[in-house]
Homo-oligomer: 349 residues x 4
Amino acid sequence: MVNVGVLGATGMVGQRFIQLLDKHPDFEITALAASSRSAGKKYEDATTWYLDDAMPESVKDIVVSETDPSLISNDVDILFSSLPTENAAVVEPKFAEKFIVASNASAMRMEKDVPLVIPEVNHEFLDIIEIQQKNRGWDGFIVTNPNCSTIALTLTLKPIYDNYDINRVYVSTMQAVSGAGYNGVPSMAIVDNLVPFIGGEEEKMESETLHLLGILDGLEVKPAQFGLTASCHRVAVLDGHTESVFIELDQNVDIDDIKNDIANFKSLPQELDLYSAPKSPVIVKEEDNRPQPRMDRNADGGMAVTVGRLRKDPVFDNSFKYVLVGHNTIRGAAGASILNAELINRTIL
Amino acid sequence: MVNVGVLGATGMVGQRFIQLLDKHPDFEITALAASSRSAGKKYEDATTWYLDDAMPESVKDIVVSETDPSLISNDVDILFSSLPTENAAVVEPKFAEKFIVASNASAMRMEKDVPLVIPEVNHEFLDIIEIQQKNRGWDGFIVTNPNCSTIALTLTLKPIYDNYDINRVYVSTMQAVSGAGYNGVPSMAIVDNLVPFIGGEEEKMESETLHLLGILDGLEVKPAQFGLTASCHRVAVLDGHTESVFIELDQNVDIDDIKNDIANFKSLPQELDLYSAPKSPVIVKEEDNRPQPRMDRNADGGMAVTVGRLRKDPVFDNSFKYVLVGHNTIRGAAGASILNAELINRTIL
Amino acid sequence: MVNVGVLGATGMVGQRFIQLLDKHPDFEITALAASSRSAGKKYEDATTWYLDDAMPESVKDIVVSETDPSLISNDVDILFSSLPTENAAVVEPKFAEKFIVASNASAMRMEKDVPLVIPEVNHEFLDIIEIQQKNRGWDGFIVTNPNCSTIALTLTLKPIYDNYDINRVYVSTMQAVSGAGYNGVPSMAIVDNLVPFIGGEEEKMESETLHLLGILDGLEVKPAQFGLTASCHRVAVLDGHTESVFIELDQNVDIDDIKNDIANFKSLPQELDLYSAPKSPVIVKEEDNRPQPRMDRNADGGMAVTVGRLRKDPVFDNSFKYVLVGHNTIRGAAGASILNAELINRTIL
Amino acid sequence: MVNVGVLGATGMVGQRFIQLLDKHPDFEITALAASSRSAGKKYEDATTWYLDDAMPESVKDIVVSETDPSLISNDVDILFSSLPTENAAVVEPKFAEKFIVASNASAMRMEKDVPLVIPEVNHEFLDIIEIQQKNRGWDGFIVTNPNCSTIALTLTLKPIYDNYDINRVYVSTMQAVSGAGYNGVPSMAIVDNLVPFIGGEEEKMESETLHLLGILDGLEVKPAQFGLTASCHRVAVLDGHTESVFIELDQNVDIDDIKNDIANFKSLPQELDLYSAPKSPVIVKEEDNRPQPRMDRNADGGMAVTVGRLRKDPVFDNSFKYVLVGHNTIRGAAGASILNAELINRTIL
């Protein structure tokens, strides 16, 4: 068993880490860190538990520590981070001096020597770790996963990008309130309403997606070269981001071929049969009215993205449209970091 | 006063007609028709009233008749129709033999001799009425308004189309449940959820919008020539459709010019100061997080569409994006038919 | 394995039956019946599946039959019924001529020779079956479970009633929309709203609860003798009924004793370790803000009721108050019938 | 015109004050105070406006001051306070040295020399002001209104209490999220859920109601002597508290008499025809499924409470039940303080 810890353990994504790591065959939680308000208390007492499933017994008695590397035992190997961005920017590098940090924070994602990875999409970017350690003189390292809405979108784009030349992507999102944290969206803001703005989200989708589909040239990432524009909106859904996607290729579209490419897509995590890897990263639904967040967010434990309404565009040549749903705090956050760690554990450690 | 009636008077849109016509300076409701289940009863007894404002006193005692032209008094001039499509296809032509029918139904919209009109966009299409009456030998006629999501979109496109060459439009909608009628969307389908499908809606948006922005060539409509593709979704909002719009022009975009073009847009209904005409058909909001359906759907009595997040596309040349909100059962349905009737009353009768 | 079937198999509660019976150690679904619209189709094709978990593979290919005993194979032993009341009144007696019918319908509940049973509360009422078979000359029989809101309430009252003299109970419910069936509550009726009326619900709670807590005198039920009055309301919750309960005893209240009585309550299903029996029928929560339907409805697979805010009444003598949450379509419907069948299977068959 | 100001002007209830005072015939807003974060800014810039109706033009340019009496012009007569309780306890007495404070805060409500008033219920309690000024040596004074759920309940109890001997009241509430302030209830807490706890609410209802229905003995309040117990719950409704009420009288119940007593109830504000007074303080609905918060909260501008499902208790003697809806931030907060001020303005100033 690899000993692991969670930074930001009391928050929304922190709780998902704990839920997903419970009964994990390779990872065992032995450390939990949070703000000074929680430090010194048993996790059970420090935390208002938000998830529908009850808090795992195994973490209840762990005493929460401050978010300080010197307070984490040396027998911990991997720290999962769901720290707020500003905090992560300062703290994660300190932890990386001796620990592996698998981070869901956006702070370090676009640093040149920090791999931004979705295991099914660009596992080869893990090679960058080598430079990171050399550059920074660290014994540990940081690996990051993308933004929640980016992960779901990129998983569906990957099998298309592998088989066709993409010209343009237009994406309009309908995102769940959990993406803003437990207190992020007041009920007064969202009941009988939606909010057409999520700070920084469009920029992240527009840059991270191309980065993830890029190639390693030496140890530098050359982003993919098509255009992708996003409009992001918050809707009255608890969990599960929905995205409406329009794609133009450089060539004729055979919708059945594309459907097969997406449905049959598998990658390294599936080959290695990693514990958190979904059987298929993307599930294709034929029903007219799917995917729906409440019905499809938990597909394959919340780790599979569901695509539906895959249809030829009746208006634009070489174009098609679809709708996707992905669980934003599982596949789009905690589960993403854990899958990164499982891949590292199997291929690097 | 012009005597008017409402067909489909007990339904969702029928109730909006009644609400909006109450205290109207030029129109007085003297006839109400509905299905045989309601016929013979006083409107108050025949109707489960759905709107937040109470049922107007003036209609409570009107006895509902069957939907049959022979049962409507000859002193009625205009009939507003919110009949279901299949029903409208059969019944509206019979009424048009002697009455003016201002219809919100989709049945007759794309008939060559039936004008599909938004008064601010293509009032000149009313000229088609002449052929309709000649062709069909009717004393009355049918005028239609577009689909709810089309009206809101087209009102925002019109000032752009008048000033620039549009290449492409991508639109993704987040539509209110009232658009499906009172019983249309079960709560089990939409609480903590959304549904990425509305039957026929995308097709209507894709065809009706270009038709409305087209020109009359003789008395035939030549649709506008750009491409417009839509993806339509139902969200947990009671009233007010939200649409996320991406536009590519044939030329450079100066976002302030476009903002001014939209904000300053006025047309014939504003010049004629029609009773139901909003001061500005489209209101432009500067706040990051607007428009929102609950906050903006009632702008100018629900007859103005609100645009926000108008921004240059950071990715595509000659491109920009925005979000709009319009009230689907006021501007997008009953109010649209009434504004058509007001225009006809002022310019034709 | 006992072969079982489901009547009303395509509906909301029918689907819960199928979900809960999947992987059941003793029962295997071999027959599914529904309306003539579904008959002759494979279950997968006949059904719009509503539950978040996917349809079990094992039922997908079962061909749905009409709801007619002659079409059900003789090797089926138990039929679970989620038929609409009027339908159940006619059809269930026909099935009971040769099958065991474990019914969630209200039609036969108050018949003198039909046991209305919650296994933890009044399993001894199963003795009534004997008369039923004699009276009616049936080889099979009907056993019923109470209304959803009654089951949850009665499970919490039982350990109190066993230990104290109850004088009065006032209960005000906040019930989930699933209780009305998938199409029962339109979203227009419940978003940003609640509906203070559920037809027949208050009467069922007021009569069924006392019946369940009654005693068998010979083979006749003498209902419990205290007063219970209910007010029932529908709220914007998908699953899980919440009830606010005020109780007056005939004696002094020691709130800790009552808490212990409730928390320690176990009964025959727990002793027999029936497959669907929760470890404790009622879970007591200490947190101020629990139980909550979304957090507590799935306690012990949805078969345990959760009580919280158990507090001495500061105003009335000998009085206390609490709030309960129970899953209305699991513990309150399909799970209730299944637990009845498990008890019968173990003790009678 | 009387010059008035609002303390806590940027909050939820502060905004309601501003909305309701706009176009008031007797009161004109000339001062707005809020926290130091807002002070010095124009109201328009200091405030995130939450209400569906747009911010009134008349207040946009008023510069917000700190909450300090020395910063409020002497030509202001009345200050409406929606300060948080702890803050109100410190600050309101300072303002009362020279201003009239009409407060919605709970801080001073139960002080012996501070009148807690609903104009339709106990306007005579305003006589207490005299002692307050004498006791405290103030030129101004404080008058308070009760808690939102108490006001609605007490308005319905008053006509009953005036005509019958009440023995017991049991009330279970379903309260709107706006009662907790804009950020009070996260969407994660209430979508597909409810929360069965509102801190301090039950205690307020249990004490304030009896106080309001009490009598002045000399200048001391003798509370009403019946028992009232409450259980309070938060539901997914934006505005409008719903309360389920069970009442036992000391005598036989004729439900039509009670209905008439409630429906015909009028009091001093109606006689004086005060600007904010509803025509009838309580409206009685006959429909089975009313009152509903979204349909009834705005009755008579949000100042009337709506009662429905008034029915004889089928179980308990001398007992009946009903459901009420009242607008929590209009009749239950800002409108309550304004009606108090209107009464004072007409009868005392």
